[in-house]
């Protein structure tokens, strides 16, 4: 006979919500994947090197892949393995992408009729 599952609703206060929405620094010993997952949950922009990016499902997390759509690599420290890379894949969450990044298609659509 299985035990019943008791669900106790948690009363979220604004302070708890704000704290939960903020990213904490990386804890020593925290697995790479866990850290990237936490960043994705907070919709942070993520840079992953050529070895680490395979394990990140950017579509499922709602990200825009700069490498996929623009064939552009970036330089910087990998957010997973923390090694500096020259073949970094930049992922920008779609919530922030329109405010912070102009895609190649958007650049092409901008009118060229008036260019000082």
């Amino acid at each position: 006979m299985s035990s019943p599952t008791i669900v106790v609703p948690k009363k979220w206060t604004p302070k708890m919500l704000t704290h939960a929405a903020s990213e904490g620094g990386r804890r020593y010993g925290k697995p790479h994947g866990s850290h990237v997952d936490d960043l994705a949950a907070l919709r942070r922009a993520i840079v992953l090197c050529g070895q680490c990016h395979f394990r990140f499902d950017w579509k499922r997390h709602g990200y825009y892949s700069v490498k996929k759509y623009e064939s552009t690599l970036v330089r910087g420290k990998c957010f997973a393995c923390t090694l500096f890379c020259e073949d970094g894949r930049l992922f920008i969450h779609e919530d922030h992408r329109p405010k912070a990044w102009t895609t190649v298609d958007e650049r092409k659509k901008l009118s060229r009729r008036v260019r000082p």
Binding site: E23, G24, G25, R27, A45, H96, K99, A100
Partner: protein, 239 residues
């Protein structure tokens, strides 16, 4: 403001920085930390001295106190730090984001194409001299000219518009141009450029290196942009 390209075509350099103040919006410029702050700061409406980079995400809260679960209270944002980064910023009417640019309708025709007479003040504190006027509709739609002098009712250009300026045709304006050094004035949230004001010459923020000025066909009131380059990046000399 959005990443648009780089002048040299080099790879983007992206890294995280600890924040010194809350950053609620992505696509804003940041400046170096000072002795009194915990991390990088936001630019101001008029200055971007010691520019660090353009943010790609947000941190709504600055946390300083030690946490009960011993988690790290430091908060970080991801920033593009290239000193030659080209930044696209929308031209906005005023300080509040999302405001469509004003239209200035011609009230007195100009058969030599040199005077845009609209009855509005073109010589106000926002100083349109050295700025740009472009046709929104009419027979000069899509044509721009640099304003060479301004009066309380008109703007004068040195190079004539190709067609007569007829009554009822609309123009738009901004105090910036790609050929005259003027420091742009940003909006309240630092995400767009105020097209009705400029920062005074004592402040350093961005150079304007290109402009995308649309007419009625592309709804230029909401879709006109300047392309900026940081003038005082901490990572090297610029243009």
């Amino acid at each position: 403001m959005e990443q648009y390209n780089t002048i040299t075509g080099g790879q983007l350099f992206v890294r995280e920085y600890q924040i010194g103040e809350a950053m609620a919006n992505a696509g804003v410029g940041t400046t170096a930390a000072t002795n009194a702050t915990a991390g990088i700061n936001l630019v101001t409406e008029i200055a971007a001295v010691d520019y660090v980079g353009l943010t790609l995400d947000t941190q709504a809260t600055l946390v300083t106190a030690q946490q009960s679960d011993n988690s790290d209270p430091a908060r970080r944002v991801t920033v593009i730090t290239n000193s030659d980064l080209m930044i696209k910023a929308r031209l906005n009417d005023g300080d509040t984001e999302g405001t469509a640019l004003q239209l200035f309708d011609v009230t007195t025709e100009s058969l030599d194409g040199l005077t845009i007479t609209t009855g509005d003040a073109w010589d106000s504190a926002s100083d349109k001299d050295g700025g740009t006027a472009w046709g929104f509709d009419g027979n000069n739609a899509g044509v721009f000219r640099q304003i060479t002098s301004a009066t309380s009712t008109a703007a004068l250009v040195t190079v004539a518009f190709p067609n007569d300026l007829l009554v009822g045709h609309n123009f738009m304006r901004c105090p910036l141009s790609a050929t005259t050094p003027q420091w742009p004035d940003l909006t309240n949230l630092f995400t767009e450029v105020n097209a009705e004001a400029v920062s005074d010459s004592n402040n350093v923020n961005f150079y304007v290196i290109d402009m995308i000025l649309n007419d009625i066909g592309s709804d230029g009131r909401l879709n006109s942009y300047v392309i900026l380059v940081p003038a005082d990046s901490i990572y090297g000399s610029n243009v």
